[in-house]
Symmetry: C2
DNA sequence: TCGCGCTGTGTTGTGCACAACTGTTCATCA
DNA sequence: TGATGAACAGTTGTGCACAACACAGCGCGA
């Protein structure tokens, strides 16, 4: 795929995941094409991919609409993400490298500065980068691709529900998890790092969704 | 998505998975459009989706080419599929219904007739339908979608490698697994059914890939 | 006043022509 | 003879015009 096209898709996806386009928003192909200085054709290619990812839905004669956040579906996705997180430490775990540790240190540093600014969007970006770092611990491509796909589907609700929680507290919990992960990786225990990640996702799921699920 | 468009995608995907289009085959947008009585535009939409699924790759000025089967990647995908198969019995298992048992019986019947005809393509279709039946045992949508996506990626190599094995023996093994699954479902043990499925995938992986993986 | 259909506006879907690009073939020249 | 490059055929990518469709608003009639 061309770089420009992949970029189009990524930019739109980020806007949806960062809630710049809230669920229910109608995206205009014409307007977006104009904004990106292109025609509708390549833009439609990007929207098509977003539709396959479940982030938008195109209806003939109506519009392209950002999908709603469906709580039961989000819960199911989180349940699966939990399991996949643990698998990252089991399927083809990659030996811990000095470079990986340096990357993690950089992420921790970003987390420290985050405690000052307390910007939810920055938090969301850091969360994504930390997630991608976690995926780098497995050599199983299929697992990486699958996990990322599922993450994209839950990123929105994470940010949306974050506003109901204590942002400072959430950042602290996040920092502690990164430190704990660092300790595990320092002694080369990739499996433990993956389990820490699973614990994190599980508690996130509880904090975000508890009390709002029907049944 | 329109039915016609979804259909286009499904037909092409099936052709690739059944090896009507072998890896390396160059697909002509113009020819395909003509065959389906449409223009290139909707056809390109279908090809785009196939590209996102990893079944084809479009190169500007060159063509749209059916991707090669990459053995290490297939192995990694199988490893993940194993785990997901077991998860189907753990995450939101669905109570066994009489209708589900009837469906399974119909599949077993198809397997019996397969022993006579011994057509690999029919075997492949039965394999897919049995796989989809297995997914119906979980209520977790994300798991279903993910598993199906991964299955699609391994369907080709399964059929390709099947020709090296004893087809009659493979059909017998397959029939035995379905019978075993039936016994598990008769006593309402969805979890056991999922484990049987995992065993099946694991042994399939070994039989198909053993001895050909580098390293 | 209510119901019905028409019409206007805006949206996505399709078809077509052309641009951009690649690989090949063949002629030309050192 | 080998190398080089220019022309060519064939492919995917892009832009644009129009078709197909949904919905809201309005007018008309019972």
């Amino acid at each position: 795929m061309s770089d420009r096209r992949a970029n189009l898709h990524q930019v739109l996806r980020q806007r949806i995941c960062l809630l710049d386009y809230a669920p229910g928003t109608r995206l205009s192909e014409t307007d977006l094409a104009q904004e990106f200085g292109t025609s509708r054709t390549p833009l439609r290619r990007a929207l098509a991919r977003l539709e396959d990812e479940g982030l938008v839905r195109s209806l003939h004669g109506v519009g392209t609409i950002v999908t709603d956040i469906d709580l039961p579906e989000m819960d199911a996705t989180y349940a699966l993400r939990e399991e996949l997180a643990e698998l990252a430490g089991i399927l083809a775990p990659v030996p811990v490298s000095a470079k990986a540790l340096a990357t993690l240190d950089a992420l921790i540093a970003r987390g420290d500065t985050l405690r000052q600014g307390r910007d939810p969007r920055d938090f969301a970006r850091l969360n994504l980068d930390y997630f991608l770092f976690g995926l780098s611990l497995t050599g199983n491509d299929a697992l990486r691709e699958t996990s990322e796909r599922l993450y994209i589907r839950t990123a929105r609700i994470w940010l949306h529900r974050l506003e109901r929680l204590d942002l400072g507290e959430e950042i602290d919990i996040f920092l502690q998890e990164m430190h704990e992960t660092r300790r595990a990786l320092m002694i080369g225990d990739t499996r433990a790092a993956a389990l820490i990640r699973r614990v994190h996702i599980s508690m996130c799921r509880k904090r975000l969704l508890s009390g709002d699920l029907p049944g």
